[in-house]
Amino acid sequence: MGCFIFLKWHTEGETPDKIRKIAEKFDKSKKEVKDAIHKIKAKKGIERNTDIEVDLNTGEVYPKGPDGRLGDSIGNIIDMINGIF
C-alpha cells in the first residue's frame, strides 16, 4: 500500500526536477535550491552526475536512474538549505 502511494506521487508529477518549481514550493531562491542540490549530489556513492527529483511534500531527494526510475532518497533539500548536512 505504502509502495503504491509512493509510485502514485511520482507519476502525478509531485517530484519535479525543475529548479523553479522546487524554489517556489519551499519559498527559496533558485540559487539556494541549486546549491542544496549540488551539495546533496556531492555525496559519493550515488551514481555520478545523476539527475534528481525532489518530493515537494517531504523535501526528500531521489536519484533518477537511466531507465527513469527513482532510487532511494539521497538527502533532504529542506535540511540542506537549512545547513543540516
Binding site: 529548479i19 523553479r20 541549486k34 559519493k44 538527502g75
Partner: protein
C-alpha cells in the same frame, strides 16, 4: 562578460579504510562537511541510502565569491602544495574535484588552461562538473 552566476568547488576524499578524522589529520585541515560510513543520507528518512564510505568534503579551499578560474586555481594550488600528503592518502582513499557551475543562460563553457591542468594533475584524480542552466519559463 561571464554568464556564470554561481560556482562551488570541493575536494572530496572518501575511504572505507581511513576515518574522516584520520583523513583530516593527514591534511591538517578540517572538512566543511563530513559523513561516516553507514550514516543515513537523509537523517529524517530511515529508508534513505547509507554512505558506503567515510567522506570528507573540503568546500572551503576557494571562496564563494571567487570566479570559476580562481576556484580551479586555488584547488590546483592546494593539490600542488599538499602533493605528498595527498599521495599518502590516495593509497587508501579516492580523491576527486567536484565542481558545480550555474549559468544565467542556456549555454556555457569551461576553459581549463595548462597551468591549472598541470597543478590538478599532480595526483591522479578526476574532475566532475555538475552544471545548471537557466530553465525555460514555460516548463
Amino acid at each position: 562578460m561571464s554568464n556564470i552566476d554561481w560556482v562551488s568547488t570541493s575536494l572530496r576524499i572518501s575511504s572505507s579504510k581511513l576515518t574522516t578524522s584520520e583523513i583530516s589529520k593527514v591534511l591538517n585541515l578540517e572538512p566543511l562537511i563530513h559523513y561516516k560510513k553507514g550514516e543515513l543520507m537523509s537523517s529524517r528518512n530511515p529508508k534513505s541510502q547509507k554512505f558506503k564510505e567515510n567522506l570528507c568534503i573540503y568546500e572551503n579551499i576557494a571562496k564563494k565569491s571567487d570566479d570559476l578560474e580562481m576556484h580551479l586555481k586555488k584547488i590546483g594550488l592546494f593539490i600542488k602544495n599538499n602533493e605528498n600528503k595527498l599521495k599518502e592518502l590516495i593509497t587508501n582513499c579516492e580523491i576527486d574535484v567536484y565542481c558545480g557551475i550555474s549559468y544565467n543562460g542556456g549555454q556555457g563553457g569551461i576553459v581549463l588552461n595548462s597551468e591549472i591542468l598541470k597543478k590538478l594533475a599532480s595526483i591522479p584524480i578526476e574532475i566532475i562538473f555538475d552544471l545548471y542552466f537557466e530553465e525555460d519559463e514555460d516548463t
